[in-house]
């Protein structure tokens, strides 16, 4: 139960293709982001004008947040986290345009991002601490390890699951609530829900970004 008319679905139908809404709209968001990035990159100035003026504070604030949460070591993971943040934000906000489907309202897109973060945390941990990374899973005292290790493993496996389901549930739930309100009263009444959609889009982006940062920072720090 999503928007009754989805532009790319109609286009696919005309061209007799079967790709899936979330894939086509992921391509759209990717194209949008790459285009904006290339436009800004073309003429970077020391005194920013126009689009650069808008994007510079955004990038700057993400950089500051990474510095605050992860320390100066976290600077290396800025590209990953900023890319995820921009992608999620744009694909969440795209839901507010009629005829557009947010790629984040599909489990597959979110699972891809969450699994990337999950793999990244462990790769970072192994790279940073070598074989000593497994001390992270053993708890403070060595003879407690048989108790702690299963709990830690379950806790680590729950991370991608919760990251995926949180974003999916929020975006899909919002879509459904909006459609139900449209079905009941198609005038003015869905407007407050759309306003809440803007709020949800920003908060979910923030939460996903922050949790990705915290997970990576957790595997960066020393085991106790």
């Amino acid at each position: 139960m999503t928007h009754p008319f989805i532009f790319f679905e109609w286009l696919e139908h005309q061209l007799h293709l079967h790709i899936g809404n979330h894939v086509t709209y992921t391509w759209l968001v990717m194209a949008l982001l790459i285009m904006v990035a290339l436009l800004v990159k073309r003429n970077i100035k020391t005194v920013p004008t126009g689009l650069q003026n808008f994007l510079e504070p955004v990038v700057d604030s993400i950089e500051n947040m990474i510095e605050e949460t992860m320390g100066h070591k976290g600077k290396a993971y800025f590209p990953l986290i900023a890319t995820i943040a921009f992608f999620i934000l744009v694909s969440n906000l795209i839901a507010l345009i009629p005829g557009f489907f947010p790629p984040t309202a599909n489990l597959n897109t979110n699972a891809a991002m969450a699994l990337t973060v999950f793999a990244m945390t462990h790769i970072v941990g192994l790279k940073e601490h070598g074989i000593g990374y497994f001390k992270h899973f053993c708890g403070p005292v060595i003879w407690l390890a048989p108790l702690i290790v299963p709990i830690e493993i379950v806790g680590h496996l729950a991370r991608p699951l919760s990251l995926t389901l949180r974003l999916f549930g929020n975006m899909y739930g919002h879509e459904i609530v909006l459609m139900i309100f449209f079905g009941l009263v198609p005038f003015i009444v869905p407007l407050p829900m759309m306003l809440m959609g803007v709020l949800v889009a920003f908060i979910q982006t923030f939460v996903f970004m922050l949790l990705a940062m915290i997970y990576i920072a957790g595997s960066l720090e020393e085991a106790h």
Binding site: F168, I203, L210
Partner: protein, 88 residues
């Protein structure tokens, strides 16, 4: 047909129970955060960040219930078996 009626009832009651507990939890978290900011307005930025993470964690409980409710309503794994049993 009763099977599907009970599915709808289960989804509704589950969603209600899930959001009940989550609402209380989030309310308590926000109460403490507001008290903290009122006592020390300087720490509002940090409190806000931590509160948002906590709220997201609590909220995911309601989201799990929502996903289960959606599975019961739209992607029920037992639908085919029940329909086969009914058609006999």
């Amino acid at each position: 047909m009763e099977f599907f009626a009970w599915c709808v009832v289960a989804a509704g009651i589950g969603m209600g129970l899930g959001s009940f507990g989550t609402g209380i939890g989030q309310g308590l978290a926000i109460q403490k955060a507001v008290e903290g900011v009122a006592r020390n307005p300087g720490a509002s930025g940090k409190i806000m960040t931590i509160m948002l993470i906590g709220l997201a964690m609590i909220e995911s409980l309601a989201i799990y219930v929502f996903v289960v409710a959606m599975i019961i309503l739209f992607a029920n794994p037992f639908t085919e078996t029940v329909v086969q049993m009914l058609s006999k």
